[in-house]
């Protein structure tokens, strides 16, 4: 089983993630949206959405630092293992609590506010539940594990090298042999999210409109007349508002 979960399953999910995105982007521009429900319910969304999104961005940064930077690098920089772990637990727990508060609010809202529930798709429900599971297990692993289990499990010696192996197509399932259950479940559910990602509202992540900041003009014109250039280039500025 170790081979399946730690050498096959992640690639299955990554493959679906990549091909799914390509397929949906080609075939379903019309369905590609953030699927916001703010219009139907604002009060709970305000806190839920802001907390969740802020938290998840911090959590993402934390995972990049914790997983992708090898111990040897931080040690050479003079950051001892102890300092690294303490910092990771404090910042990770804070970000985790923010994210968890957000996703709990969003999930409760999705289920209990009838307008939102009735207008939710299966994918909306599924992704809310999956995110809740992954976030709560992640927070348990960061905060709860140190508080209650008090074990000296070192993810930087096991999970981190494994995930780096996955990224360079040389995974070593052996590294995951003695990883505690909730760490394993956290990873498996996280990859499950990657697998369903392209078929849910999560595609809006790739549409963060950063190009808005660099747009030459506020007002966009498009011509019905013939144009040689591709779509995005049609936007022609006339008169700049800054």
């Amino acid at each position: 089983m170790g081979i399946f979960w730690w050498a096959i399953f992640p690639y299955l999910m990554i493959t679906v993630f990549v091909l799914g995105h390509i397929y949906r982007y080609q075939k379903d521009q019309w369905g590609w949206t953030a699927r916001s429900s703010e219009f139907l319910e604002k009060k709970y969304l305000k806190w839920g959405s802001v907390l969740f999104h802020t938290g998840i961005l911090l959590v993402f940064g934390g995972h990049v630092v914790g997983m992708l930077i090898p111990e040897a690098v931080t040690e050479r920089l003079g950051i001892s293992d102890k300092i690294f772990h303490t910092a990771a637990i404090i910042t990770g727990s804070t970000a985790g609590f923010i994210t968890l508060a957000g996703i709990v609010l969003l999930l409760v809202r999705r289920v209990s506010v009838k307008r939102v529930r009735k207008t939710s798709s299966f994918a909306d429900m599924l992704i809310a539940v999956l995110l809740f599971l992954v976030v709560s297990m992640g927070l348990f692993n960061t905060f709860g594990f140190n508080l209650f289990v008090k074990s000296s499990f070192d993810y930087r010696a096991t999970i981190a090298p494994w995930i780096r192996g996955v990224l360079v197509f040389a995974p070593d399932p052996g590294l995951m042999n003695n990883v505690p259950l909730f760490f394993r479940l956290h990873i498996i559910f996280a990859f499950a999210i990657f697998g369903v990602w392209p078929f849910t509202r999560l595609v809006h992540v790739w549409s963060v409109p950063l190009e808005y900041l660099g747009r030459r003009s506020y007002i966009l014109y498009r011509s019905v007349g013939p144009v040689a250039k591709p779509v995005k280039e049609w936007e022609r500025a006339s008169g700049d508002v800054g």
Partner: protein, 481 residues
């Protein structure tokens, strides 16, 4: 100078009787779909009132339109681009569905499938969002003919600065109807607000459309539009709006709302304007200059220089001819009878309104066929609909401009009255606008007699010049299915 053509509309409030035919035919054409039940691309409001969505004119709340910054630059009232992105997880200025109304339907089966009973069966309303029974407390036209106005009317932001005068009591009450649709602005705040670049203004006719394939549902257009005329389809989770019935316009037909207007109060035509001066025109320090600035943007379609430049900018002969015959140019520019709705939003709106002249005779109290013109003009100030109210609506508070329009309308009535009843062609040349008998006759023809082809002067679109139409599926406001 860069000359562009703009499809524009004039609505004569003086003749609007508030029958809602425009709203109904528009709804049946465009928004009779799930997700847009609450949306009325065209609606008719009774003024005074808070309107649809509730208090849409309160920009302190919804932050729509533009403001002039201290450096003389325009900025969206809701904030700059960075602040938009920082608010992307939650748009604090968004009107929610309750500000419009919760859509409902009736349980008609209770009527058609009822067994024989002692009492008449009743079709009860239930929500189209949740299916729950709904107690109706607000709807798309809750304030029709001032219903509930003593309660909601005071929240009308056009009543600012004249609360003392207006009591909305039965004896002093006034009202008129205001049909509203997308303004297809020259300086559209919705276009500027869209971070995805999905909303655009068409080069050829100025129609503002949402590219359904590019819309990602960030919702800033909805709060950015000060007229609240971009709607959120809660099924597709994308923005939709009035398309000015462009498939009809392209074929030379007027919009559905114009075509079906039973009072024939709408006019559709082409205006030529200088696209290079749009930003300057929208940026005067004083809001009261916006109306005159916008007027100056419109170019005389008979000026040979304008025509030459228009040809250089790619406008076709039939469009130039349509601009010359444009009823909108005549009413808004030549006669100066139509005014823009809330010019202070600085979006340079393109649906203009002839203000309603309430009945004069009671005020003048003469009942005679021929009253002194001075008496009539003085009466304008004492009219039932306060001129300040109309000024807040149409001229950023400039009462003189509204009074001027009324004086022209009164002059026209006097002229036609003496002509029809006394058979006299009263000399009128000494009026401040230089309107002679021929001009008044033309004004009369356009306001009172105009036939279909006079009210709607719409050149066909030059589709033979269009590029790859297949490529553009889904970009014009429809879903691509």
């Amino acid at each position: 100078m860069k000359i562009k053509a703009q499809m524009a509309m004039v609505i004569n409030l003086d003749k609007c009787l508030g029958c809602h035919t425009c709203s109904i035919t528009c709804k049946n054409t465009w928004t009779n779909r799930s997700g847009l039940e609450y949306a009325w691309f065209n609606n008719v409001e009774t003024k005074p009132g808070v309107g649809y969505p509730r208090e849409w004119e309160r920009q302190e709340k919804y932050k729509g339109g533009w403001v002039l910054k201290s450096k003389g630059k325009l900025e969206l009232r809701a904030g700059n681009r960075l602040s938009k992105l920082l608010n992307i997880f939650y748009n604090p200025d968004l009107a929610d569905i309750d500000d419009y109304y919760e859509p409902w339907t009736y349980d008609y089966k209770a009527l058609t499938q009822s067994p024989e009973k002692k009492h008449q069966p009743v079709a009860r309303p239930h929500s189209l969002l949740t299916g729950d029974p709904l107690e109706l407390k607000w709807g798309p036209n809750w304030e029709d003919d001032l219903a509930g106005a003593p309660e909601t009317g005071k929240k009308d932001s056009n009543l600012r600065s004249l609360e003392e005068k207006v009591r909305l009591t039965f004896e002093e009450v006034f009202m008129f109807h205001l049909p509203r649709l997308c303004e297809h602005c020259l300086n559209p705040a919705c276009v500027a607000s869209c971070p995805s670049g999905a909303i655009y203004k068409r080069d050829e006719d100025g129609i503002v459309l949402v590219d359904q394939d590019a819309c990602r549902g960030w919702r800033f257009c909805m709060s950015g539009c000060p007229y609240k005329k971009v709607y959120f389809n809660w099924q597709t989770r994308k923005a939709e709006k009035c398309t000015l019935c462009f498939p009809r316009l392209e074929a030379g037909l007027p919009t559905v709302c114009s075509e079906t207007c039973s009072g024939r109060v709408r006019y559709v035509g082409v205006l030529l304007y200088d696209a290079d001066r749009v930003q300057v025109a929208a940026s005067p320090v004083s809001e009261r200059e916006l109306y005159k600035n916008q007027l100056q943007l419109f170019l005389d379609p008979y000026d040979p220089e304008v025509l030459a430049q228009a040809r250089r900018d790619g406008l076709d002969e039939d469009w130039l001819a349509a601009a010359q015959r444009s009823p909108v140019y005549k009413l808004a520019v030549e006669f100066g009878l139509a005014l823009p709705l809330h010019p202070e939003y600085r979006t340079l709106p393109m649906v203009w309104y002839i203000p309603p002249l309430s009945p004069m005779m009671q005020v003048v109290n003469s009942g005679q066929t021929e009253a002194e013109s001075g008496e009539f003009f003085a009466a304008i100030e004492r009219m039932r609909t306060p001129i300040e109210y109309l000024a807040n609506l149409l001229t950023a508070g400039d009462t003189e401009t509204v009074a001027d329009v009324f004086k022209k309308m009164v002059l026209l009535r006097q002229y036609m009255r003496s002509k029809n009843l006394l058979g006299q062609d009263v000399p009128v040349e000494d009026n401040p606008w230089g309107l002679n008998g021929a001009a008044l006759q033309e004004m009369y023809a356009l306001l009172a007699l105009a036939k279909y082809r006079d009210r709607f002067v719409i050149p066909n679109a030059h589709k033979e010049k269009a590029g790859d139409l297949y490529e553009r599926q889904g970009m014009t406001g429809y879903d691509p299915a």
